[in-house]
């Protein structure tokens, strides 16, 4: 088979892949950009997440990524010329603490957030209850709230990025799985069942599956996978206005614009299955009721499975690998909420060789160099 050639090959048509491709065209409209995906529209983690975005983080770099992305979400319809809109809802995000330790972490983080003008505030337990009366008052110590955080439809955002990329002549192919990548004489060859694709540069956006493509090239990245299951309820009256996360319950709660509530509880598991497991709902339901007694009577409509990427410091991995021209963008389960900023930064790195200060801290090389910092406001164990 004759090879298809392109300037940049992006592997994975999720948030990072499509956003990077779109931004590459903003930097250089004449470049040939191709995005291939082994699945179909939104079939990976991009179509399976909790749909929330927040600027409330404890590390500068996460705040910067989210802040830039939030500004993009607010104008996404215009920026991407997508009249349907992305179902943006900025009703805030409430991060809950059920122990003094958690509250201390929130307190320390809010000081950093204020340095970047994130309009977050510290709330006592009574103020949290007033904001969400459906909460359980017992053991609740307090929380932080940011009114500019919110939710949007991941399906709409991904559709907007897809349509905008195609409009800019990015070639997006679904059902094309890259089996193997090789580099010879400075050119990459990606093998697919439809034949080889040759590219000068390659960006891997297959998230937790990135090591599978890197390993044969002799590049090791410490990325593993965490299977999660999510729950969506039938539409119900508004009872959880802001998005909630509880640092102790490891649950995120997001009532969508259409009334359904999405719960993503995290438990320690291994593997990369997206199957629904028999014990999940009876495990999750008591935890959810303990956090939010006011939803006990709401009916679960459906569950679905998701795999998120896990890195040793639970930070994204963004940058060039030890092989020149081969880049990775691993989300650490923040692909939706950071994709506008990550796409822009990856595009300037790939197209112009410019490394954003944020990317410098998230490079694939940081693990060997031993330069890692743990994000204190994670919603999982």
């Amino acid at each position: 088979m004759t090879a298809v050639t392109t300037d940049v090959l992006v592997v994975g048509a999720g948030f990072f892949g499509l956003s990077s491709a779109w931004w590459m065209k903003q930097r250089r409209s004449g470049a040939r950009i191709m995005v291939v995906d082994g699945g179909e529209f939104a079939s990976g983690a991009s179509g399976r997440n909790g749909a929330g975005f927040r600027m409330q983080w404890g590390l500068d770099l996460n705040i910067l990524l989210s802040k830039e992305s939030t500004a993009f979400f607010e104008n996404a319809s215009e920026l991407l010329d997508y009249p349907r809109g992305i179902e943006l809802k900025q009703d805030g995000y409430l991060v809950l603490a059920h122990s003094q330790n958690a509250l201390d972490r929130l307190n320390a983080s809010i000081a950093i957030q204020h340095r970047y003008q994130v309009p977050s505030e510290l709330l006592d337990a009574e103020a949290c209850m007033k904001m969400v009366p459906a909460l359980n008052r017992e053991r609740l110590v307090g929380g932080t709230y940011c009114a500019k955080d919110g939710t949007a439809s991941p399906f709409r955002l991904l559709d907007a990025l897809l349509i905008a990329s195609r409009r800019e002549q990015v070639e997006v192919r679904y059902g094309t799985r890259v089996e193997r990548i090789e580099k010879r004489n400075g050119v990459f060859t990606a093998s697919t069942k439809d034949g080889p694709i040759e590219a000068n540069q390659v960006l891997l956006c297959t998230d937790w599956a990135v090591p599978q493509l890197l390993h044969p090239l002799g590049v090791e990245l410490p990325v593993t996978s965490l299977p999660k299951e999510a729950i969506v309820t039938v539409p119900c009256t508004p009872r959880v206005k802001p998005i909630l996360i509880s640092l102790e319950h490891h649950i995120s709660v997001n009532q969508l614009a259409r009334g359904s509530i999405v719960f993503v509880p995290t438990r320690a598991r291994e593997g990369s299955t997206i199957e629904s497991t028999p014990g999940f709902l009876s495990w999750a339901a008591p935890k959810i009721i303990d956090l939010l007694p006011g939803v006990a009577e709401v009916a679960v409509l459906r569950t679905w499975g998701c795999v998120s990427s896990v890195t040793p410091d639970m930070q994204p991995i963004l940058g060039e690998t030890e092989i020149q021209g081969l880049y990775v963008a691993v989300s650490a389960y923040r692909g939706f909420m950071t994709c506008p900023a990550v796409g822009r930064m990856m595009a300037s790195l790939v197209m112009d060789g410019v490394t954003d200060p944020v990317l410098a801290q998230l490079s694939p090389g940081r693990f060997k160099a031993g330069k890692t910092t743990i994000e204190p406001l994670l919603n999982q164990e």
């Binding site: 529209f41 079939s43 039938v234 259409r258 009577e297």
Partner: protein, 464 residues
């Protein structure tokens, strides 16, 4: 310890399967979402209701006979009414909701006898109050012994519209028209098949005669193309269709009515089989997505069986005889000592009624052109309010599998989980983008919504 068989559904197939498995010494549990056994076809009214039933005496005697036989084994089985099976898993677990609690069952074998639902074909105005499934109208007649409308138009194909029109007239409704896609006399082309269903044919003729007596106007070759009205149904626009199902210009007529009862055949309730991971086949007019089964109801999973319309649309009489055959097969699959009581009667009955069912099936074949009555502003998925135009734009953007279409345009993401619309989405994809319906959408728990409180109160049955 006795080996256990769980039967899901207490219609004709489920009741017959339970009777047979119990007779073979299994510990049988029957789960049914209704308050009383009977399923859709033998639905029973609340015992406190007085008044007569509107069905033919021969149908009523079949119903009574099977319900009596089921009643006779009630003491020997666990019959659990108001119990909803909401999930099935590949490890053999069946999860059920009973009121404010849930339970996990893990029997040695499961027989799915979950029947079927009616097939909706979207057309302009079909979501107006007053537009119903013909079977839905009949369920009201059966359960509440009252009619859902004063002036009705009954339409569709196959035998059900004839039966429902007749029962509506008996309930005092004026049937302004009985429209059928093709002449019911087409069935006369298969005299051999008819002979096998002669008793059912006699019933059909009696229903037909009562329509003649009530002077119900017949519109052969007509379909409803638009339901009229603002807040609720006020009338219907009918049009004549050609052999391929295309509406013919200049043939439309309007009929005033407050009830439009339609049946275009059926879709099998195969979600639990798919959720458990059984292999699924595609049969557009025989129930759409069906678990693959052999003659004795075995699916691709060793512990899972399917009987009656769940395994392919063939009607109540096949369901009853097949239920017995599959109940016996499930029993012998889980018992170490096989009892081989003769099932000759059930096997002969199934063979005979299957021949008749094949004839009836021809009357239920719906040409895909009927989906052309939907216009760009017609709702395709009523839970998520997805319009045909939105579906078409998803198709135009290259999203062709049902999963991709769902994620892009949201049909099937709402309350009913796609039970109402997914077959239409598949047909519309074929019609507008030339892509074959292909794979069913990935089936996920839940088959029915269940509150968190009930999920938190979960009991695990003792494992055998």
């Amino acid at each position: 310890m006795r080996r256990s068989v769980v039967v899901v559904g207490a219609g004709p197939a489920g009741m017959a399967a339970a009777i047979e498995a119990a007779a073979r010494g299994c510990e049988v549990t029957v789960l049914d979402e209704s308050a009383r056994p009977g399923g859709q076809i033998y639905r029973q009214a609340d015992p406190r209701l007085s008044g007569t039933e509107f069905a033919e005496p021969t149908e009523l005697s079949r119903k009574k006979r099977l319900l009596r036989r089921f009643d006779e084994i009630l003491h020997a089985i666990h019959y659990r009414a108001n119990t909803i099976a909401y999930a099935a898993f590949g490890n053999g677990e069946i999860h059920v909701q009973v009121g404010d609690r849930t339970e996990v069952l893990k029997p040695d074998a499961v027989v799915l006898a979950t029947g079927m639902r009616e097939r909706a074909i979207p057309f302009p105005g079909w979501t107006l109050p007053g537009v119903m499934f013909a079977g839905g109208a009949q369920a009201i007649l059966k359960a509440q012994r009252t009619s859902p409308g004063r002036i009705a138009v009954v339409a569709g194909c196959g035998p059900l519209p004839i039966v429902v029109a007749s029962q509506l007239t008996r309930a005092g409704t004026r049937v302004a028209a009985l429209a059928s896609l093709r002449s019911p006399l087409a069935i006369l082309r298969s005299p051999a098949g008819m002979w096998h269903g002669r008793d059912i044919m006699r019933e059909g003729l009696r229903y037909g005669r009562s329509l003649l007596r009530a002077s119900v106007p017949r519109l052969t070759g007509y379909i409803p193309i638009r339901a009229l009205g603002k807040e609720r149904l006020e009338g219907v626009q009918m049009a004549r269709v050609d052999e391929q199902g295309h509406a013919l210009p200049g043939t439309t007529r309007e009929i005033a009515c407050d009830l439009l009862a339609i049946n275009y055949g059926f879709i099998a309730n195969s979600e639990l089989a798919a959720m458990a991971g059984a292999r699924i086949r595609h049969d557009p007019d025989g129930g759409f997505w069906l678990p693959e089964t052999d003659d004795e109801g075995r699916t691709s999973l060793p512990w899972l069986f399917a009987a009656g319309d769940t395994a392919g649309l063939r009607g109540a009489l096949v369901a009853e005889s097949e239920g017995a055959i599959v109940g016996a097969a499930a029993a012998s699959a889980v018992r170490t000592v096989a009892t081989s009581d003769a099932l000759t009667e059930a096997i002969a009955a199934r063979r005979r009624y299957s021949r008749f069912a094949r004839v009836v099936r021809q009357t239920l074949v719906v040409p895909v052109a009927l989906w052309r009555t939907a216009t760009d502003d017609t709702v395709v998925c009523r839970c998520e309010n997805v319009l045909l135009s939105e579906l078409r734009s998803a198709l135009e953007n290259g999203h062709h599998s049902l999963n991709a279409i769902k994620r892009n345009a949201r049909p099937g993401m709402g309350w009913c989980g796609g039970r109402m619309c997914l077959h239409s989405v598949a047909v519309l994809a074929e019609l507008h983008a030339g892509v074959a319906p292909g794979k069913m959408m990935t089936p996920r728990p839940m088959a029915r919504p269940v509150p968190f409180a009930a999920l938190a109160q979960q009991k695990r049955a003792v494992e055998p």
